[in-house]
C-alpha cells in the first residue's frame, strides 16, 4: 500500500542551520496520525516539505506516492490547513467557498455549505471578522471540501481556546471518518492529539524517536520501579527507553512485547502524554536514542 507520507534521508537547511536533517519515516494511510515533538523538532518543516511549500535540501519525500505539489492532481489529493489557519481577511465566508469551488475541480459545495451552517457561521461575514475558532473551521472546511485523500494540519488548534479546540477536533473527526480521509496533524500538545489520533510519531531533533499505533504503544510500555538496579541487567526482550535512579530506587521505562512478570518490580503503565514526554525527555542517552531508532526501523 502507498504510504501517506514517505520520507527518506530528508533534510532541509536554511543557510547553515538544519531545520530538519536525515529524517526517514513512513506514515500509513487510513490513519489519523499525530506528529508530536518539541518546538524546533522540525514538525513544521516536515509538513512544509510534505505540502511542497518547501523543496528538500537532501533526501526525498513522497506524498501518496508522488512528489508533493507536483501538479494539479497531486494538489487535489492533499488538503492542507496551515499554521495560524490563514484566510483572506477581506473576503467573506461565502467568497471563500466560492474560491474553493473555483480552485478545486473536486469541490463539494454541499458539504462546505452544510459545515458552515452547522457551525452557525454567517456566510456574509468577512473572514477577518471571524473568531479564531471560526477562522480555523473555515480553513478546515476549505481543506475538507476539496475532497482530499490526505489532510495535513499544522498545529491547527494551537491558538484556539479549549472550547474551540474541542469543537474543531470534533468536526475534524466526524468529517474525516465520514469521507475516509487520512489525516496527519502536528501538535506539541499530546493531550490534544490523544483524543483523536490512533497513530503517533514522536519527532525529536528531526529524528523519529518512536512511531506506531497508539494502543499498541501504550500496551507495550511499562514503567518499572523498585530497588536500585542496573538497567543492563534487564532481560533482552525489554528495551530500556529511559531510566532514572535515586540512591536506593530505580525507575525504568521499558518497552516489551511480553508481559512483565518480575515480582521485584512494581509495574505500572503510562498514559500517552507521559510516554511521549519520556521519549522526548532529558534522560535520553545515546543508548536510548539508538533504541528509538531501532524501534522505528521495526515499525517500517
Amino acid at each position: 500500500m502507498t504510504a501517506a507520507i514517505e520520507a527518506s534521508g530528508l533534510g532541509k537547511r536554511y543557510g547553515r542551520r538544519w531545520a530538519l536533517s536525515d529524517c526517514t519515516l513512513s506514515i500509513p494511510t487510513g490513519r489519523v496520525t499525530g506528529l508530536v515533538g518539541p518546538n524546533g523538532a522540525g514538525k513544521t518543516t516536515l509538513i512544509n516539505l510534505a505540502t511542497g511549500m518547501l523543496a528538500p535540501t537532501t533526501g526525498t519525500i513522497e506524498v501518496l506516492g508522488s512528489k508533493p505539489a507536483s501538479g494539479p492532481e497531486q494538489l487535489a489529493k492533499v488538503g492542507y490547513v496551515a499554521q495560524d489557519t490563514p484566510t483572506y481577511a477581506g473576503l467573506s465566508v461565502e467568497d471563500h467557498l466560492r474560491f474553493g469551488a473555483h480552485m478545486n475541480p473536486g469541490w463539494d459545495a454541499v458539504l462546505a455549505r452544510k459545515r458552515m451552517s452547522q457551525l452557525g457561521i454567517d456566510p456574509k461575514q468577512k473572514a477577518g471578522k471571524l473568531s479564531g475558532g471560526q477562522r480555523a473551521q473555515l480553513a478546515l472546511t476549505l481543506a475538507i471540501a476539496k475532497r482530499p485523500e490526505l489532510l495535513i494540519l499544522d498545529e491547527p488548534i494551537a491558538s484556539l481556546d479549549p472550547l474551540a479546540r474541542r469543537e474543531f477536533l470534533q468536526v475534524l473527526m466526524e468529517t474525516t471518518a465520514e469521507h475516509e480521509i487520512s489525516v496527519v496533524m502536528s501538535s506539541h500538545l499530546v493531550a490534544d492529539l490523544e483524543r483523536v489520533t490512533d497513530y503517533l510519531i514522536v519527532l525529536l531533533s528531526s529524528r523519529v524517536r518512536i512511531a506506531g499505533d497508539i494502543d499498541e504503544m501504550l500496551a507495550t510500555h511499562y514503567l518499572l520501579s523498585g530497588a536500585r538496579r542496573d538497567p543492563a541487567t534487564l532481560p533482552a526482550s525489554q528495551q530500556v527507553i529511559s531510566a532514572s535512579h535515586t540512591d536506593r530506587q530505580s525507575t525504568i521505562l521499558v518497552r516489551s512485547a511480553e508481559p512483565l512478570l518480575d515480582p521485584s518490580w512494581s509495574v505500572s503503565q503510562l498514559d500517552l502524554e507521559d510516554l511521549v514526554l519520556a521519549y522526548m525527555g532529558n534522560t535520553t542517552t545515546t543508548a536510548s536514542a539508538e533504541t528509538g531508532h531501532k524501534i522505528m526501523e521495526e515499525q517500517r
Binding site: 496551515a82 467568497d95 474560491f99 473555483h102 480553513a139
Partner: protein
Amino acid sequence: MIWLTWRQFRWQAVTAAAVLAVLAIALGATGFGLSTRFDQAGLSTCHSVCSSAASNFISELRGTPYAALFFGCVILMYLAPVLMGIFWGAPLIAREFEAGTHRLAWNQSITRVRWSAVKLGLIGLAAVATAGLLSLMITWWAGPIDHALSLVGGSPSFGGTRISPVVFAARGVAPLGYAAFAFALGVTAGVLIRRTLPAMAVTLVIFAAVQFLVPNFVRPHLIPPVQTTAAMNAFDNNEIMISSPGNKMTLVGNFSRPGAWILSNRTITPSGKLFTGPAGAACTGNSTPNACSNWINTLHLRQSVSYQPASRFWPLQLIETGIYLILAAGLGWVCAWQVRRRRA
C-alpha cells in the same frame, strides 16, 4: 483562478475605471473647444507656411485651462505606470506573503505557476490597457497642440515637440510599455522582498531611475542620430555668450529642423575641437555686433549637430515600447520562477 484574480482586484479596477471616466469627461468636454481654436487659428486649412499661425495658436493658449490640462495630462501619463507598479504590482504577491494566504492559495488544486501566471497576465493586461486608454485619450486631445508645436519647433511654455523627452513618454504607445514594465517590476519586488511597503518603495526608486536613464542615455541611441556638420555663419541668429575673466566664449549656432529632437549642437574649430574662445577684441568692449560676427566668421568655425528628426517619433516609440515589454516579460518570468521554487 480568473474569478479569484478579479475578486482580489476589483477595487483597483473600479478606481482605474473611475479615473479614466473622469479624464474622459474632462478631455471630451474641452477637446472640441481646443479643436475649434485650432480651426480658428487657420491651422486645419494651412498646408505650406503655417508656423506663424501655429505660434499664434500656441501663444493664445498660454495661461488658459488648456495649458493646465496639457501639463496635467503629461504628469498623469508619467504617474500612471509607476502608480500601477506601486499599487497593483507590489502588493499582488507580497500581500499574500504578509498575510500567509499564499499557503492557502498554493494548496488548492492549481499549480503555483498557473496561479502566478494568471494573476500576472490578467492584471498586467489591465495595466497595459489602462495606460493604453489614457494615452489614446491624451494623444487625441493634445493632437492640435502637438501639431502646432511641431510646426514651431517647441515652445518655452509648452515644452518641446512630441519627440522631446518631456512629451515623448506621455504620447503614443510608449506608456503601454512603461505600464507593463512598472507592473512587472512591482510584482517582482514584492516576490523578492515579501513585504508590501518596501516593495512599493523599491518599485518607485527603480522605475524613476529607469525613466531618468532611458531618455538621457538610451533613447538617443535607439536609432543612430543624424549628424550634420556645416560651416557656421555668425550672422545666422546665433547665441553668443562671453564670460569674463578669461574671455571664454560659447557659441551655439542656430539650428532649425521643426519637430526634431536636438541631442547636441556644438560649435567646433577647423581642427575639430569645441570652440571656447577666447573672444577677440571685436566681440568685447564697445564694438558692434556686426564687427563681432565678422570676426567670428574669420575663424572658419563649423557647427556640428546631432539630432533625431521628427519623422522618427513612431520608430523610436515602437522600439522603446518593445524594449520595455521584453523587460516586463523577463520580470514576469522571474516572478513565476521565484514563486515556483518559493519557500514557505
